[in-house]
Each structure stands twice: as structure tokens, then as C-alpha cells.
């Protein structure tokens, strides 16, 4: 089942979902940070939060949440900020890296990537 509560909603809905926050001013999670649910969705929860928790029963990248929920990445980041605050989800690989710092990889990672590609 596609967790897809927002597709048919009006634009105002997104404003409500994110409480009017969001966009480039938020300190941002990496687009491939892996989000993991740490608790079950509960009935009193905002439905978008519950949808995130369901999707994140297994580790799920921020961009995949965005695609599954039909919400822009920036809106998903806002939802996640709430859930991270309350500990309902955790993020793996949360460290923001910059191009200048260089990629966060080591020779072993490159070797494993190479092996994975060769298996394709």
C-alpha cells in the first residue's frame, strides 16, 4: 500500500502539515539520511507522522519518504524534525557533510561499491 494521504489535498494542506515552516532556512537532514521508526504510530498522531512511522519500520532514506508520501523533500524534513525531536524516529548517517569536507568514504566502502556494481 502506498502511504499517500496527501495527494488529493489542496495546497493549503501542505502549509498545515508543516505548520508553515520549512524550506531552505531549516537545518537540513541529508537527502539520503536513513530514517528508522522507534515507536508505533498512534491514533492521536498527525496522519503524516503516522505514515512516516509506518514507512520507516525498515530504514528509509529521506528522498524515498518524499517520493512515497508525495511531498517535497523540504516538507518531509520538517515532518522529520518533529519526529526526531520526540524520539519517535532516529536517523542513521545523519552527519551533514559538505563538498569541501570531501566525501565520507573509505577504501573499503569503495571496494564494496565496486563489487556490488560488478555483480549487476
Amino acid at each position: 500500500m502506498r502511504a499517500d494521504p496527501l495527494h488529493k489535498e489542496k495546497p493549503d494542506r501542505l502549509y498545515m502539515v508543516t505548520g508553515g515552516r520549512g524550506g531552505a532556512d531549516e537545518p537540513s537532514l541529508d537527502s539520503v539520511a536513513l530514517i528508522v521508526a522507534e515507536s508505533e504510530p498512534s491514533p492521536e498522531m498527525q496522519s503524516e507522522h503516522a505514515a512516516v512511522l509506518r514507512l520507516c519500520a525498515r530504514p528509509t532514506a529521506v528522498v524515498e519518504l518524499s517520493a512515497e508520501l508525495g511531498l517535497p523533500v523540504s516538507a518531509v524534513r520538517v515532518l522529520l524534525a518533529d519526529l526526531l525531536d520526540t524520539g519517535a524516529v532516529t536517523a542513521r548517517h545523519p552527519a551533514p557533510s559538505t563538498v569541501r569536507e570531501g566525501p565520507q568514504h573509505d577504501p573499503d566502502t569503495l571496494k564494496q561499491v565496486l563489487l556490488a556494481l560488478q555483480r549487476l
Partner: protein
Amino acid sequence: MLSNAFERTRPRQTWAAPGPTDRHPLAETVDSALKIVIVGGFGVGKTTMVGSISEIRPLSTEEVMTQAGTGVDDLRGVRHKRTTTAAFDFGRITVDATRVLYLFGAPGQKRFWFLWEQLFTGSLGAVVLVDTARVEDSWYAVDRLEHHGMPFVVAVNRFGPGPSLDRVRTALDLSDDVPLLECDARRRESSRDVLITLVHHLASSGRTTAKDPT
């Protein structure tokens, strides 16, 4: 205005038709994600490459960018903070029990080029796709990647007869150490070979976290 953000861009490709996705969740053990970005001019085959090599049906999403006072909108004389919505697509390849690789197809339209820099952040490296009919479209990509010190390879997506690789290297003013190869983005083995070339390049260019004795 956040409401702009709601104009969802549906996947344009037939293989990414809207509808319930058959999700393929990652294994519980996966704890780190890597990314490689595919850039290049409009219609050069970025989405095709993501699709040919991804192990999941490629997904499409969008990012909303706020531009405050500078950038593209400024050129149009718009004074206020504006948002731009850029669609991009991505796929993924499982590396091992703990690692997954994401491939991003950057949006190709000129007005989105400035957004690439955001996608570069945290990437292992990049693939620049070139259409030999419009080599100059890729010049900007090469320039930006060099500016950011992001390692990259250049792949000529052959749509038909065109100039030799040597001429492409000259036209793009590529230094000798940048790998340049041909590909057919529609073919999985060909796209895979491009990525393998990139990973070899990353390994040899020494941009790793390992201690370098020199």
C-alpha cells in the same frame, strides 16, 4: 510560498507510472547511504541511466528551493524571496548488508542548474553525461564540478554518429586525468561500466578518509 511546493511533478516516464509503488524496503541492517549524482544538459539521458541501473523502479520527487535575493529570479527582476520546485529522480543499488548506493538524476533544464550544487553535497562523485550534438551544454557541469573539487567522469551518451572522444575532451577542456568514455544509457551493462569507471577514479584520486602518508 510553500503552496507552490504542492504542485507535484508526476513521473514522466512510462516505467514510473503513478500508482501504488511496490516498495522494496532496505534491510534492517543498512546503516549508511552513499550517493552518486548524474548531471548533464537537458535530455541527455540522465533519467534513462538511473532507470537502467537501479534495482528498484526509479522514484521521482522534488525539492523546493528558496532563493533569497540572489540567483535566477533576480535576473528577472523579482525582488522577493521565491521558491523554485525542481523535480529529480533517483534509484538505488544495494552494496552490502550495511550500505546502499543512491543514484540521483539531476534536473537538466538550465534554470535548475544552480540546484545541482545542493545535490553534490555529500556525494562520492558525479557522472557528466554528454550529448555530442550539444557538447557545450555539459561545459557548465564540468566547470561546477571542478569548482567544487568533486571527482567525476564524463560519459558520451551516443545518440548517433558524432565527434571522437578526443574531440570531446578538447571541446570540454578536460584534463588528462578525467576519465572519458562512451556509453548507451539505455543499457544496464553500459551504465554499470560508467559507474565502475567512476569508482576506480575515486579510488585512484585518493579522496578517501584513509591516512595518506604523502
